[in-house]
Structures are given as C-alpha cells and as structure tokens.
Symmetry: none
Subunit: 225 residues, 2 copies
DNA sequence: AGCGGGTGTCAAGGAGTCGTCAGACGGCTC
DNA sequence: GAGCCGTCTGACGACTCCTTGACACCCGCT
C-alpha cells in the first residue's frame, strides 16, 4: 500500500486530499507545518510527499532540503505562486514536480502516480551505468576505464554519482552544488569547474572535448551515455 | 461526454453555439451574465468554458478570476476585436485562448478541441512535446530536429519550455517576459522578438513562415503542435 | 501616399561563464 | 616533521551568451 504524506496548513485542502487519496487506496499521513512534516516523514517513511510551500513555521524550500538530507522520496510541491523563480528554487532544492493552486484533483492524482512510477522504475534500474569509454558501478562505488579501475576522491565520486543516476538528464548547477557541497555552497560554481575538469581528465579520452561529461552553458551538466 | 459552458449576453450567439455544439456531441450549459456563469460552473463542472468578455453585470476578466480561484478548466474568450488591451488582460488573468468576433464556427470548434486535448494530455503527464519538425523533451531538457540534437541557450530554452508546456495555448507577452526575464522586464518586448527569431531559425523549416512558433500580433505567442 | 505601431532581422559590444593551471592549506600516515 | 593526498582559491585567456541599436517590413488608419 502506497503511503502519502500531505503537508499543508489549510485544513480544507488536507481534508479534500485525505478523502480523495484514501478512496483510491492510499494510506494518508498529514502535517500542518514544516517541523511536524519532517518528524512524521522520519517515522512514517511515506512513499511520496505532497508539500505546500506556504507553511506557517519554516520555508517550504527548507523542508525539501531537510527531506533530501536523508531521503530520495518523491516530493510534489503545491504552491499558489506561479512565478518561475519560486518554481526553479523548489525544483533545484530537490522537488520532483510542481503543481500550482488551484489544482484539479485529477491532475494531482496523475502527477502522484507519475512520481511513484518514476521512483519504482528508477530503483529497478540497472545500477551499472556504461559509456563507450568507462563504466560506473553505483552499488560498489567503483569506476572502470578500459578494464582498469580508476581511483576517485570522495568529492569526485559524489559529483559523478549524481550525474550517473540521472543519465541523459540535464542536472542544474544548483542541484549539484547543493547535493555535493551542501545547500550553503550554491553559487560556488568554481568548485564544479575544477572537479568536472578532474573527472574529465580521469575518464574522458579527450578531456578537452568531452563526449560524456557535457557542459550546458549557463544551465548545468549532463551525463551523456 | 464533454460539457461546455457558453457565456454570452447575445441570445443569437448562444443559440448558434448550442446548436452546433450539441450536433457534435457536446453537452451544452449556458449563462447570459457573469454571476449566473459562476454559479452554473460550480454546479455543472463543465470541461471547458466559452466566455464573452462583454457581459452586462461583471467584467469578463473578473469572471475568469472567479473561475481560476478554484478551477483549472480551460477558458476560451470571445471578444469584439476593438478592445485588444482587455484581451491581453484576459489572457494574463488565466484565459487559455481567444477568438475574435465575428468568428467562424470551425475555428471555435478547433480551439475548443485543442483546449480539451491540452487539458487531458497534461493529466496523462506526457513530458515530450512533438511537432512535425522537432521534438521537445521537457524532462531531460533536450530538443531534437530531424533526429539531430539542437543546442539551445538558457534563455532560448526558458522561452521554449513555457510555450511547450502550454501547447496550442496563446501565451501573453507579459507572461513570457515575466517568467523568463523576471517581473521587472515586462515591457521589453524586443527580447521576445530577438529570441523568437533565434528559436525559429533553429527549429522551423522556414523561419520566415513559422508553422509552430506563431505570433499573435499585439497579444503573444502560441506553440502550434 | 504617408504615418505609426508592432514585428522580424542582423550585427557588434560587453558582460558573464567556463576550462585550466598552479599553488596554498589542512589532515593523515609513516 | 616529512611526505602524501584531497580540497579550496585565485588568476588568466578563451569562449558563449545577452543586450542593444539600427533598419526593413507589414498592415491598418488618416
């Protein structure tokens, strides 16, 4: 049974979601503020979180960061704000999807299913990522190039792991910095340049013209298979 | 069965729409003023609303706001072609499309189908938008044209993403500028012209006669599938 | 025909980002 | 303490991208 944690300070929204989700066979946990949400998440281990950004105590983005500190549970953000700045902030912090209020219940349910589907699919996925020149084994944390093991430092590995877990996907600088160096270091894009260069020197055939560790100027980096 | 709410104070237009829509299998609800429209919408839960802006009691824009307060139902605005400022206002308030009077029944029906299609598609969560010449993958942030990857700059991508997330829908200049360049740049329509031109050069077969990135003079732009 | 608003196009500059190197700093082992 | 390793920092050239201005165009209006 899939369990959903609903976090919102508006009782009528929580109530509406509880009714609709229960009717469809979900187990529903609730919280009305950020602190409660975090502790309920720890205890209840929900399979997916529906989070309103406008909470009475802590900023929603910090709740996302708090969850992402130890969990990869899918997070769907609810918000009345339509401006893209808030949206990007939430997604960069690690949210999976974004729904603006007012929302249709059908739409939310569809996104919920999609989020859970993505998650389970990701977990079943092969934990070994291969390119033409090197392979990344995510379970034993080892990288091979031409059948020879390549030694990576912890930071190098942290960076490569995130990219390898999102093959073909564009990963934003903010997300990389936040997940490897912590949320306080978003902005230190120099780190990224240095460590991407090191990874390329160790893994790419022609580090000056990378084929797999691709820069998308102004946006982020991409692990090209 | 798809139900349509028609809101107009001119009886002959309501009648004409009722006949044409019924004949095509739509269930038709009607209202002759704004207040009635809002209450009928609450009770009838229409799948799409056709709304004349010139109503006897409340301003059409406020009707849109009233609907948007609790519903994401697609709204197609009807309007006499003189008051273009009002039309932009309507789009910014959350309307999905507009049709100028006098209108061809075929055109209205096409817009209606497009609006409904857009809505259901959104719920199914299809993150890849396809046209006859290029595809936009919203999850991995990639664009392909003729099986070749096309590189976009951050601004180009930002613009295309908003349009692609609202296929078939007319998006106002104000909304585009506000979401890509920030709320302070809502007057810099020159940006839009420059970047739309770049997108067309990269994506359209004949950039001088675009088939998918359409300009609606005075209003905004539309991503035509 | 002339005018003006909105639009499409192009090119040039300047701002900002990226890759790279080299060195400083701190923790660890021997 | 010496040597090693990993991380951080500053500086530089090279490059990309954004902005801006100029001008032609289309179309409705006077």
């Amino acid at each position: 049974m899939t369990s959903v944690l609903v976090v919102d300070d508006e009782p009528q929204i929580v109530k509406a979601l509880r009714i609709n989700l229960s009717a469809r066979g979900y187990h529903v946990l609730t919280a009305y503020d950020g602190k409660t949400a975090l502790s309920v998440a720890v205890e209840g281990k929900p399979d997916v979180v529906v989070l309103d950004l406008g909470l009475p105590d802590i900023d929603g983005v910090e709740v996302i960061a708090g969850l992402r500190g130890w969990s990869t549970v899918p997070i769907i953000v609810l918000s009345a704000r339509t401006d893209s700045a808030t949206k990007v902030e939430a997604l960069d912090a690690g949210a999976d999807d974004y729904v603006t209020k007012p929302f249709g219940m059908d739409e939310l349910l569809a996104r919920l299913r999609a989020a859970v589907r993505r998650k389970t699919k990701q977990e079943v996925d092969e934990p070994i990522v291969r390119t033409s020149t090197f392979t990344v084994d995510l379970t034993v944390k080892k990288v091979h190039r031409d059948d020879r093991e390549v030694h990576l430092t912890p930071t190098e590995w942290g960076l490569l792991e995130i990219l390898a877990r999102n093959p073909d996907r564009l990963v934003s600088q903010k997300q990389l910095l936040s997940e490897v160096w912590g949320p306080t270091s978003v902005g230190e894009s120099q780190y990224l340049r240095v460590y991407m260069a090191q990874l390329r020197r160790k893994l790419e055939r022609d580090p000056a013209h990378p084929k797999h560790l691709i820069t998308e100027p102004g946006m982020g980096y991409r692990f090209q298979l």
